[in-house]
C-alpha cells in the first residue's frame, strides 16, 4: 500500500512537470483535472489505511470539489473563453525544467534535515509534496497569461491537500471545510475577474495589465 501511495505522489509531481512544459491552455486544464483525480485516489487510499471520520470528511470534500465541481467549472470557463491559444513561458522550457529539478532537489535536502522528527515512512511523500508546491510557484511566476496563474494556484492548493493528507490523518473538520470553500470561492472570484479582464481587453494576456508598473 505504501508503495502505491508513493507512486501516486510521484505521478502528481510528474504531472506538475508536464504542466510546466505545456504551451496550450486547454492542455493545462486537462492535466490539472488528471492531477485532481490522482489526488483524490491518494486520499482515498489514505482513508482506507486510517479509517477516521476526519479522513472520510476529507475524501468527501475532495471528491465533490476537485473531481466534480472544479473540472466542470473549468471546462465551462475554457469553452466560454475559447481557450485554444498558445502561451509561451517567459524563459525557455529547458531552463524552466532545470529550475524545477533543482527545486525538487532543494526540497529533498530540506526535508532530509527533519527526517528524525518526521519519520522515515512519510519523508519522501513530504518532500515531494513540498516540491509540488514549489513547482506550482514556478508555474505562477513564469507565465504571462492570467488563466495559467489561476491553474498554478490550483496546483498549489492540490499540494497543500496532499501535504495535509500525508502529515495528518485528517485535519479537524473546520479546516477541511475552510480549505474546500477557499478553493471554491477563490475560483469563483477568479473566474469573475477573468471574465471582466476578457471583456475589458478582449484577451487574457497579462501584458495588457501593466499600466501600474513602475518604470525607472
Amino acid at each position: 500500500m505504501n508503495s502505491l501511495l508513493l507512486f501516486l505522489v510521484s505521478l502528481m509531481v510528474g504531472l506538475s512537470f508536464l504542466m510546466l512544459m505545456q504551451t496550450r491552455v486547454i492542455n493545462l486544464v486537462k492535466l490539472l483535472v488528471i492531477q485532481n483525480f490522482i489526488l483524490t485516489a491518494y486520499i482515498f487510499c489514505k482513508a482506507l489505511l486510517y479509517p477516521t471520520s476526519e479522513m472520510y470528511l476529507s475524501i468527501t470534500i475532495t471528491l465533490v470539489i476537485k473531481v466534480i465541481i472544479l473540472p466542470w467549472a473549468l471546462w465551462k470557463l475554457a469553452k466560454y473563453l475559447k481557450l485554444t491559444l498558445h502561451i509561451e513561458p517567459l524563459i525557455n522550457k529547458s531552463t524552466l525544467q532545470f529550475i524545477g529539478i533543482l527545486l525538487v532537489i532543494l526540497s529533498l535536502l530540506l526535508s532530509h534535515q527533519i527526517e528524525s522528527t518526521i519519520g522515515e515512512k512519510i519523508i519522501v511523500t513530504f518532500s515531494l509534496a513540498l516540491a509540488n508546491s514549489m513547482l506550482a510557484l514556478l508555474l505562477i511566476i513564469f507565465r504571462r497569461k492570467s488563466i495559467s496563474q489561476i491553474i498554478g494556484l490550483l496546483v498549489l492548493e492540490n499540494s497543500i491537500f496532499l501535504l495535509s493528507a500525508t502529515l495528518t490523518t485528517g485535519l479537524p473538520w473546520l479546516v477541511e471545510l475552510g480549505m474546500g470553500f477557499d478553493v471554491l470561492i477563490g475560483f469563483m472570484i477568479f473566474s469573475l475577474f477573468l471574465l471582466r479582464i476578457h471583456a475589458t481587453y478582449g484577451s487574457l494576456n497579462l501584458s495588457y495589465l501593466e499600466k501600474l508598473k513602475e518604470r525607472i
Binding site: I140, L156, L163, P172, V175, D182
Partner: protein, 483 residues
C-alpha cells in the same frame, strides 16, 4: 452574555441587513450606525480584559481575547467607526456614474465583511479559523479594490488576488505543518489552539516549528507587505476608493503583523527563538530601506502613502524582531500611531482627489490656498507620519532607536538612514502640494464637509495627544524619585 459574542453581533447584523437596503443615504447611515455599535460593544470587552485581567474565551475556545487582542480590537473598531463616518461624506461626493446603485450596495456589505474578517483574525484562538478569516478578508477587500472597475483598478485587484492567494496558500501549508508538529503532544483540535500551542511550545520539535514559521511568515508577510512580496500593495492602495485604502493600510497590515507576531511568540519559547527574530529584522530592514528609496520616485499621492506604509510596517517589524519589552512597547505604540495618522492622510488625500480629479503630485499645487482644509491637514498628517515632535510617532521612533541601541547598536545606522531618506522624500513631495506660487484651483465644491473633516481632526488630535501624554507618563517614575 459573553463579551465577544456581544462585540460580534453588530458586525454580523450589518452583513445581513445592509445588502437589503436600497436607498443610498440610509445605507451609508446604517453602516455608520452599525460600526458605532460595534465600537461601543468593544468597550466592555476591552475593559474586562484590561482591568479584570482575564482572557475571555468563546465558542469552544476557538475565539479568545487577551490583552494583545484587546489592543488590536480597540484600534480596529475605532478606525472602522471613523472610516465609515468618512465614507458618508466620501460617497456623497462620488459622481453617480462612477458608482452605480448595485456597486453602492456592494460597498457597504463588503466593507463590513472585510472588517468582520479582520476582527475574527484578531480574536481567533484557532489558527485554522485565523487562516479562514484572513482568506475572507482578502476576498472581501479584493472586491472593494476593484470597485471603480477601471482598467487600473482591475489590474490592481488582479495582482492583489494572485499574490495574496499565493501567500495565503503558503500560510495554510505552515498551519498544517505546525499542526503536525503538535500532534504528538496535543490531540485533535487542541493542536490548532494558539493558547495550547503557546503553552506547550518547548515540547515541540524546534526545527519543524521553524519550517512552519517560514511558510507562515511568507504567507502572512505577503499581506503585511514586506519588501520582496510588496508588489500588490501600492497598486491596491492607490486604485481603490480612499476609505478602503485607509482600511487596507491602517488595519489590514496590522492584522497580518499580529498573525505573524502570534506565531513568533510560539517560536520564541523554543531553542530556535533567534531564527524568528532574525527573519523579522531582515525583512523589516529590507522593507524600510527599499520603501524609503522608492518614495523618491513616486508620482501619485496615494502611491506615496502606500510606500510610506511599507516603510512603517518595516519599522514595526524591526521592533518586534528585537524583542525586548521596550522594543515591543515601541512597536505597538508605533502601530497605533501609524494607523491613526495614515488613515487621516488617506482621508485628506481622498478629499483632494475628489475635488481636483487627479492624484498626480506634480499637478497638485498650493492647496493651502485653494483648498485650505485639505492642504493643511495633508501637511499635518505628513508631519505626524514623518515623526516630527510632538506627534506620537516621534516618541515611538525614539523608543525604537533606544531599544535598538541597547541590543544591536550597529543596526541603528540603517534605521537612521531609512528614516532620513523617507523624511526627505516625503517632505520634498508634499511641500509643493501645500505651498506654491501658482495654486491649482477649480470651483468644484465638496458636499458634506463635516463628515470629510471631522475624522481627520480626531485622528490627528489623538496622535498629538499621545505624543504629549506619553512623555509625561515617562516622567512619572522620575518624579517619584525626586519627591
Amino acid at each position: 452574555m459573553n463579551f465577544i459574542l456581544l462585540f460580534l453581533i453588530p458586525s454580523l447584523l450589518a452583513i445581513i441587513i445592509l445588502p437589503m437596503i436600497a436607498d443610498r443615504c440610509i445605507a451609508a447611515k446604517m453602516s455608520f450606525l452599525f460600526s458605532v455599535f460595534s465600537f461601543l460593544c468593544a468597550l466592555p470587552l476591552i475593559f474586562s480584559v484590561y482591568f479584570h485581567d482575564q482572557t475571555v474565551f468563546f465558542l469552544n475556545q476557538w475565539l479568545f481575547c487577551d490583552k494583545l487582542g484587546a489592543f488590536f480590537i480597540g484600534i480596529n473598531s475605532f478606525i472602522l467607526m471613523s472610516t465609515s463616518f468618512y465614507s458618508l461624506g466620501y460617497l456623497a461626493n462620488e459622481p453617480p456614474e462612477n458608482l452605480s446603485k448595485i456597486i453602492y450596495r456592494y460597498y457597504h456589505t463588503f466593507f463590513h465583511l472585510f472588517s468582520f474578517g479582520m476582527l475574527i483574525v484578531i480574536l481567533s484562538n484557532n489558527i485554522g479559523l485565523m487562516w479562514i478569516a484572513m482568506e475572507l478578508s482578502t476576498i472581501a477587500s479584493v472586491v472593494l479594490v476593484a470597485l471603480y472597475q477601471t482598467q487600473e483598478a482591475l489590474e490592481a485587484a488582479w495582482k492583489y488576488l494572485i499574490l495574496c492567494g499565493m501567500g495565503i496558500g503558503l500560510a495554510l501549508l505552515g498551519t498544517v505543518i505546525i499542526y503536525f508538529a503538535a500532534h504528538d503532544q496535543l490531540t485533535n483540535e487542541q493542536g490548532l489552539l494558539w493558547t495550547a500551542l503557546f503553552a506547550n511550545a518547548p515540547n515541540f520539535s524546534a526545527k519543524l516549528l521553524a519550517i512552519s514559521f517560514v511558510f507562515l511568515f511568507i504567507g502572512y508577510g505577503t499581506k503585511a507587505g514586506f519588501f520582496p512580496l510588496h508588489n500588490w500593495l501600492p497598486d491596491a492602495h492607490s486604485e481603490g476608493p480612499a476609505p478602503i485604502s485607509a482600511l487596507l493600510s491602517g488595519l489590514l497590515l496590522n492584522v497580518a503583523l499580529l498573525a505573524i507576531f502570534r506565531f513568533k511568540l510560539i517560536l520564541s519559547k523554543t531553542s530556535d527563538a533567534d531564527f524568528a527574530s532574525h527573519l523579522l529584522l531582515w525583512f523589516g530592514f529590507a522593507s524600510l530601506l527599499f520603501a524609503s528609496f522608492s518614495l523618491m520616485r513616486q508620482r501619485k499621492l496615494k502611491r506615496l502613502f502606500a510606500y510610506s506604509s511599507i516603510e512603517h510596517i518595516g519599522l514595526i517589524s524591526i521592533a518586534l524582531g528585537i524583542g525586548t519589552p521596550l522594543a515591543y512597547f515601541a512597536g505597538l505604540l508605533h502601530l497605533l500611531m501609524h494607523s491613526l495618522s495614515k488613515t487621516a492622510a488617506f482621508f485628506s488625500s481622498g478629499s483632494i482627489i475628489q475635488r481636483f480629479h487627479t492624484q498626480t503630485i506634480s499637478q497638485l499645487k498650493g492647496l493651502t490656498q485653494s483648498f485650505p482644509f485639505a492642504g493643511w491637514s495633508l501637511l499635518f498628517c505628513c508631519f505626524a507620519l514623518l515623526g516630527l515632535p510632538p506627534s506620537g510617532i516621534f516618541f515611538s521612533e525614539l523608543l525604537l532607536l533606544l531599544a535598538i541601541l541597547k541590543t544591536h547598536a550597529l543596526l541603528a545606522l540603517p534605521l537612521i538612514i531609512g528614516l532620513v531618506v523617507s523624511f526627505i522624500a516625503i517632505f520634498y513631495k508634499i511641500q509643493p502640494i501645500a505651498f506654491s506660487m501658482y495654486p491649482l484651483t477649480n470651483d468644484h465644491l465638496l458636499k458634506n464637509r463635516e463628515a470629510l473633516t471631522l475624522p481627520i481632526m480626531i485622528h490627528l488630535f489623538l496622535v498629538l495627544l499621545a505624543g504629549m501624554i506619553i512623555p509625561l507618563l515617562m516622567m512619572h517614575p522620575i518624579a517619584h524619585v525626586l519627591w
